[in-house]
Every structure is written in structure tokens, then in C-alpha cells.
Subunit: 350 residues, 3 copies
């Protein structure tokens, strides 16, 4: 990390339940238990790495409350409820130092319509474009080359990375993060075949993105045919994800990179989709549905299922079929042997 | 929708073959039959929703000519040849109101080479860049942050959304729509391994996009090694699609989101590829080839086939193999039982 | 091609080991052997096209040293060690003519922090943004709408295409090419579920891209949680590829379009992944691992293996299983017949 902290600062940031040992070192790096050196902070985020704690060279280690070992010389343990969350809190402090809140105001090079409404506490970076009727909420930061279309509304404390776009009439809630190149409100993909040509069905709806949503770099969210495409509160979307028109994504879902959701499909809350998963159109994934990477889902799902494979099937069935498939060469051989034996028996008994 | 229409306006727009009933309501929304409320327009686009017509609360319903029911109180039916097309016509009118044709001219903040040629009736939005030798046709609209490279040619009545790019020497026909972040003319991916290093094969060809093509957000079309990558007239491409160098896509094809086409492959006319389909290099997909989502195609196809699966196979075979695969646990059991029986018979007859 | 060369110029560029025949034609095009016309250059890059050499109409043909045939009238053969490399050399010369080195300097419309360091020989194109503490090396070219974040470092002789981004603290080596819309340093995708909500784990690391790396249009490379995401020297990445946080890609790898690599995975040197391949998190692909298009890899691999399928398996096993799968309908029939026969035998012997 770019900045260093002394033990007292970190204790104040993390508020550990218990402190064991101490270190005179200034902490200037973060590393996994095995890679850490003196001066580094490390943490036990996953029980399977518990064996690495005694030998770690880290000067400070974040550990769960039930951890029983003692620190080495010039080493300190912070015992906390959730080491990963404690680490995130520290990282968040580092983040503030790395990327300090910019000064409010509109950069001279930005092109902002006189009919747009930008809150006094918002920051509009260089070469952004804000069209007529758009509204930018308090504390929101548009970094650079950001485009906000006609009549779009962006809430409070949002962060829009370079070249992200919120096109005409689309709405972002509060604390939304769009990473670079995200496009909210591209046209849905709808045509009618008329006399051998695909006639465009105009896409005159919009997109509504809830509070605390994060959308990864170069992902695309299509506007509805009419009405709205919806991304529910607290949902996190990774890079290069495609959300079709009229899709409704519930709250607190996780969509990993390169997922594609076809038009008019509904994801209920807490759906988790691995990388490159494809979901067909006009179906519903029930609450808590989970799917492994590259799964292809084309039918409604039951709440809480875990799916794998194309076409999607329950995880355990898919695992079993994978094993049996690898035994197919043997099965074909066994059937051939049975046929030979039967033939022999038939001859004998004839 | 943002704007309202009275019945007379809609009758003029749609020109229905027959009108049944009437409504005093102003139409200010569009919704599916089941969700529609008074004041909404609805439509029967798919015969399977016919049962929803009698109970719909929509004030106006677009129906096919052979629909036999009668409207309710304060409800109007427009009977038309194709309700979906009629709806599209109405949406198109809404679109014109939402996004009126901008004033022609070059925004003061755009950077346009003095050696570029921009038609008087074209609109060049804020912060666009147009390099030397580029040509922008009549009625074409570059929205914002659009890049047009050296010597690129863009036809009439095109619409280029924010941050789209037409790079050096590439050509767009008339009425082409590029959505946000589209890149026409990125380098093809070609290297020669020379002494353990990948030496770049310069990509000095270009891309030619036909009339009435639409390309979805953040899709990428690579320029040819030499000669041209071609997208045929009337073809529609969804978001995040990758078209490799020297690919020739025919006319009136449909490529859904996240499709990838490897270099030097040819798609004949009317090919339809579902989401996330991958197509290998140096092959030809014959006219009318269709493939379901996530299909992997690595060999030439016959005209009009429908494919599924990886590796691609005829749709019906793939469906059958999926069913049989799920019966594999049972098949293994049956073969085990046969082996036991044979063993017993052998003992008996011995 | 846009520019013509006479035979003497091409002989100087290519330095052939041997010249057979001659032509009076000026060379003004490049085409495959079968498509070439008089005035075109062609080449034998792949032995399987050897049969096309005698009939080619090309005026100049690049051939391997062991080619034995003689040229036709007004036709010239250049015999070279590697015709593809010779062609690349010619294309490179054409490229220089098409896209001449721009004048050094910063375009008046670019927004460059006074605390950024831009080498005198670098070119910063129109509407680029360079933040404080960033450093741009000698001979590097930022085309247009390029974003370079706070403290980012870009080496010598790099080429950054329109709307590409190198965000805060990220580092590019020398001769790196970023195509349009590439994002280096988007946030990694990391959350902790706390009381039913996904709390963001701040991503405070960076990305380090080695010398001679090329990254295709709209690809995204996430910054590390802490420490660095690494792309090794000489690696070539195609369009729409996603590299997760903390991934380490070795040297001289090839990642085709739409590949996705999950977080904390390591690719050793010379790994080659086909289009749409997905790789799970926290695994290692050993040196020289190769995988066909759409392969899904979720476990460590052995050096030099070739994989196919989801889940990934050795190429030859996957090919065999594909064949056996297609015989499943027949196998089910054979087992049914065996059951009938056994039943009959049991009856007979009863």
C-alpha cells in the first residue's frame, strides 16, 4: 500500500475485541499469511489457512475471536469478530488516502446543459457531458468523459468512472458505482421480421438502478422496450455483463463477469451467478438461486437451488453425470462383452 | 411513456383495419395485457396470451384481424394485420418525441480536422473527434465523445451513440446505428511466433458496414488483416459481441449478446445466433443457420439447420442426448444387473 | 492496400534469399493465392494451400525456401525463410504509411494536470485527460479521449487507442498497445456478506502490464485487492477479455476474445486460451497449457496439456466422449435388447 499506519492508528480504525502482543513496526503493506514480511499486515479470512498463522512474518495479524495461539516477538494479533470485514475497513481508509474526495464543482472543460441540475456538492470532472433535464445529486462524482443523457437522474454520493454513461431518462439511486465504460440505457434488442427485413421495435423505456448497486467495467444494461429494466438495491455486477431489456434483477444479487441475461427475465433477491453464465428470456430465477460458471439456464428455478451445466441441472446431478460420462468408454466395452457372452450362451443352448 | 396520445391520434398513427368499441381515456402508458391499467395501451403479440385479452384493463388493445371478442366498457380494440408492428409504429412516434432530431451543426467543443468533410445537415455533438479525411453524411448524428478516425466514411442518417468509434479507413453505410462504446475497426488478432515471441501481423485492412445495420453497446468489430471485414445490410448485432478480422457477415443476420465470431469465418444471409454462441475460424455458416444460446460451432453448416450444444449438433439430437444423459445413472445400473444375471446363467449352465 | 510498391522496394523490405522471375507490375494489393489478381502480392503461409500456387494470378508471391515451382509470365517469386513473417514486415511498412507517427506534443483540447509528467517526444491527442502524478514515457501516443489516472506510469513507445484508460497507480511497460475502450485498473469484484448485504472490499492494489503486451478492444483488467494484478511481457490479449483481480498472467501467453479469468489465478508462460474460455479462481495453469474455445477450467493443469470441454478434460478424451455421446441412443437400444434376450434365456432355462 502507498501509505503507512502505526499500530495505534490501526487499533483505532479496527477497534479489536482483544489485542495480543505488540509491534514497534510501522505497517506499510498488506499480504497473505505466507507471503507477509515484517512491516506487513495479514489476516485469517478463511479457516483453511489457520496453519499458516504460527509461521507468518507479518507484524500485525487480524484473527477471529476464537483463535488461540500467541504472537511471536515484535508481532501483534488483533482479535476481531470478522477479520475480512476488519481488513475491508482498513482498506477503505487506505482508499480514502489514495483517492481523496475531489473538490466539488464543475470542471471548466465539461459540457453541461444550462437546463441540467447539478448539486453544489457534486463534482463533474473534465470533459463530461450532461444534457438538458439531467439531475446530479449531492456528493456525486463524475470522473472524466462521463455522459449523462437528457432527463437522466443520478442520486447522492454516486461515483461514475471514466467513460461511463447514464443515457436518456435512466435513473440511479444513491451510492451507486459505475466503473469505466459502463452503459446504462443502451437500446434493447428487439425487431419484427417484416417482409424479410428486421424492423426495429423502438425501445422507449428506461433503466432504474437501486441504491448501493455497483456495476463493473464495460457492462451494459439495456433500456426497456417500454416501462423499466430494474437493478435492485445492493446488487453487485462484475465486468462485461449484459442485462437485456425489461429484465428485473432483485436485491443483493451477485452477477460475476461476462454473465448474460436475456430480455424480460426476472431474478429474485440473492441470486448468485458465476462467470459466463447465460440466462434465457422470459423466465424467473427464484430467490437464492445459485449457478456455477458457464451454466446455461433456460427454465424457471426453485428457491435456493444450486445449478451447473448447460442445460442447467442440479449441481449434484451434474457432478454425477460428469463422472459417468468419463466412464462411457468402459461402459461401451462392458456392453460389447455382454453381447458376446449372450451370443455364446445362445449358441450353447441352441 | 412520457407523452400521452388521444384515441384519434393513435388511430391516425396505426390506421387499423377495424375499430371496435371506444374509450374516452387519454393513453399515457403501454403495458402487457395482465399488467395494463385504465389509460394504458396493450397488445396481443403472441397467441399464447389470447386468454388475457378479455380481462385486460387496458383502455386500448391492438389485436390481430382474426380476433373475435368484443371490448368492455370504455375500451377500444384496434384490429390490425400485425399488432407487434403496429406497436412498433407507435413506439417510433414516442421515440421522436423523447429524442427529437437535434439541430444540425458542429458543437463548439468538438475537435474536427479541417481536412474532414461534415455534411451541413449532420450533427456533431459535444467533445467528438473527427480526424483528417473522414466524411460524415447528411442527417447523420454523432452524439457525444464519438471518435471518427482518419479517412473513415459514414453514410446518411446514421446515429452514433456516446463513445462509439469508427476508426481509420472504416466505412458505414446509411441508417447505421452504433450504440455506446461500439468499436468498428479495432485491430485483428494476428501474430506469428518467431523465436519464442509473438510478432504482430499488422492489420492494415478495414471494416465495411452495410445499410441499416445496428450494433449493440460495447461490441467490437475487428479490421481485416488486409482487405475488409464485412457486416451485411440489415444485420442486427446485440451488445458485447466480438467479430474477428476478415469475417463476412451476410445480410439480415441476428447476432445476440456476447456472441463471438473467430477470424475469416463467413455467415451467409439470415443466420441467427443466440446469446454467447461461439463460432470458430475459417468456416461458413450457410444461409438461415440458427443456433441456440452458448452453442459452439466449429464446422461448416447446412442451410437452414438449427443447432445446439458444444460441439454443435442438430437441435433434436442435442435434446435427445440431454435426456439420455440424465438416464445414465440408470443405464449403468441396468448394465451391472445384466452382468450379474449373465454370471449366474454361466454358473448354472456350467 | 492504400499505397503501392514497386518490385525493387519490396525486395529491399523483404530481403528474399532468392528471387525467381520478374514482374513489371506495381504491387497495389494483397490477397490470398486463389483471390489474387495481377498487381497483387500473395503468399504461401500454410502448406495446405501449396496446390494454389501454380494457378495464382498474383504478380508477386512470397514462398518458403523449399518451394520448387517456377513463376509464370510477368510473375515474380520471393523465396524467404518464413513467408508469413515476410508478409508482416511488408504490412508493417504499409501501416507506417497509413498511420504515420504523429507530431509530438499535447493537443490544445487535452486536460493535463500540471503535476503530470509528459515526455517531450510523446503525443497526447485531442480530449485526453491526464491526472496528477501520472507519467507518460518517450514516443508514447495517446490517440483521443484517453484517460490516465492519478499516479499511473506509462512506458516508452506505447500506443493507446481512443477511450482506453489506465487508471490510478497502474503501470504499463514499453511498447504496450491498448485498443479502444480497454480499461486497465477497474476495481476487483470483492464483497463480504454482512447482515444480508454485500459490503465492498476496497480494491487498493494496482495493475502492472509488461513490455510488448497488446490488449484488445473493450477488455478489462481489474486492479488487485492489495498488491498487483500482473500481465507478463509479450502476452497478447484479444477483445472483450476479463482479467480478475490478483491474477498473474505469465509471459508470451495468448488469450483469445471473450476469455474470462477469475481472481487470484496464475497463468504460467506460453498459455494459450481459445475464445470464450472461462478459468476459475485461485488455480494455476502450468506452462504451455492450451485450451479450445469455450473450455471451462476449474483445477490446476499440468505443463503442456491441451484441454477441451466443460469441465475441462484432455483434448483426446473429450473428443472420444463426444463420439460416444452421439452413440448413446444406440447404446440404450443395445442394452434393451440384451435385457430382452436375458429374460428369454431365463425363461427357457427355467
Amino acid at each position: 500500500m502507498k501509505h503507512s499506519f502505526d499500530l495505534a492508528q490501526l487499533e483505532e480504525i479496527v477497534s479489536p475485541e482483544q489485542v495480543r502482543g505488540s509491534t514497534t513496526r510501522t505497517i506499510h503493506g498488506i499480504a497473505a499469511l505466507k507471503e507477509a514480511e515484517a512491516g506487513d499486515l495479514s489476516f485469517l479470512g478463511n479457516a483453511k489457512y489457520k496453519v499458516d498463522v504460527p509461521a507468518t512474518q507479518a507484524s500485525l495479524v487480524l484473527l477471529p475471536l476464537d483463535y488461540e495461539g500467541e504472537p511471536g516477538d515484535d508481532q501483534c494479533f488483533f482479535l476481531v469478530k470478522n477479520p475480512s470485514v476488519a481488513l475491508a475497513t482498513i482498506c477503505s481508509r487506505i482508499e480514502q488516502r489514495l483517492w481523496p474526495t475531489p473538490h466539488a464543482g464543475i470542471h471548466a472543460s465539461a459540457v453541461v446543459s444550462k437546463d441540467a441540475e447539478v448539486h453544489d456538492s457534486a463534482t463533474v470532472g473534465p470533459l463530461c457531458v450532461i444534457e438538458a433535464g439531467a439531475k446530479i445529486g449531492p456528493g456525486t462524482h463524475l470522473q472524466a468523459h462521463v455522459f449523462v443523457g437528457r432527463g437522466a437522474k443520478i442520486g447522492a454520493d454516486c461515483w461514475l468512472s471514466p467513460s461511463s454513461q447514464v443515457t436518456s431518462s435512466c435513473i440511479l439511486g444513491d451510492r451507486v458505482r459505475l466503473h469505466g465504460g459502463v452503459i446504462v440505457g443502451s437500446d434493447g434488442f428487439g425487431y419484427e421480421l417484416v417482409e424479410g427485413r428486421h424492423a426495429k421495435v423502438p425501445q422507449v423505456g428506461s433503466v432504474e438502478v437501486g441504491d448501493d448497486v455497483e456495476i463493473g467495467a464495460n457492462s451494459t444494461i439495456d433500456r426497456a422496450r417500454f416501462s423499466r429494466t430494474v437493478i435492485g438495491r445492493g446488487t453487485k455486477i462484475d465486468n462485461l455483463v449484459q442485462i437485456g431489456h425489461n429484465v428485473v434483477v432483485g436485491q443483493h444479487c451477485i452477477l460475476c463477469a461476462q454473465v448474460g441475461i436475456s430480455g424480460s427475465t426476472t431474478l429474485e433477491d440473492y441470486v448468485v451467478l458465476g462467470g459466463q453464465v447465460g440466462v434465457g428470456g422470459h423466465i424467473t430465477l427464484a430467490k437464492g438461486t445459485q449457478a456455477g460458471g458457464q451454466t446455461g439456464i433456460t427454465a424457471n428455478t426453485e428457491p435456493g437451488v444450486t445449478l451447473n451445466g448447460t442445460p442447467a441441472m442440479p449441481f449434484h446431478l451434474e457432478r454425477r453425470l460428469v463422472v459417468l460420462n468419463r466412464k462411457l468408454p468402459d461402459l461401451f466395452k462392458r456392453v460389447g462383452q455382454l453381447e458376446t457372452l449372450i451370443e455364446a450362451i445362445k449358441k450353447t443352448s441352441a
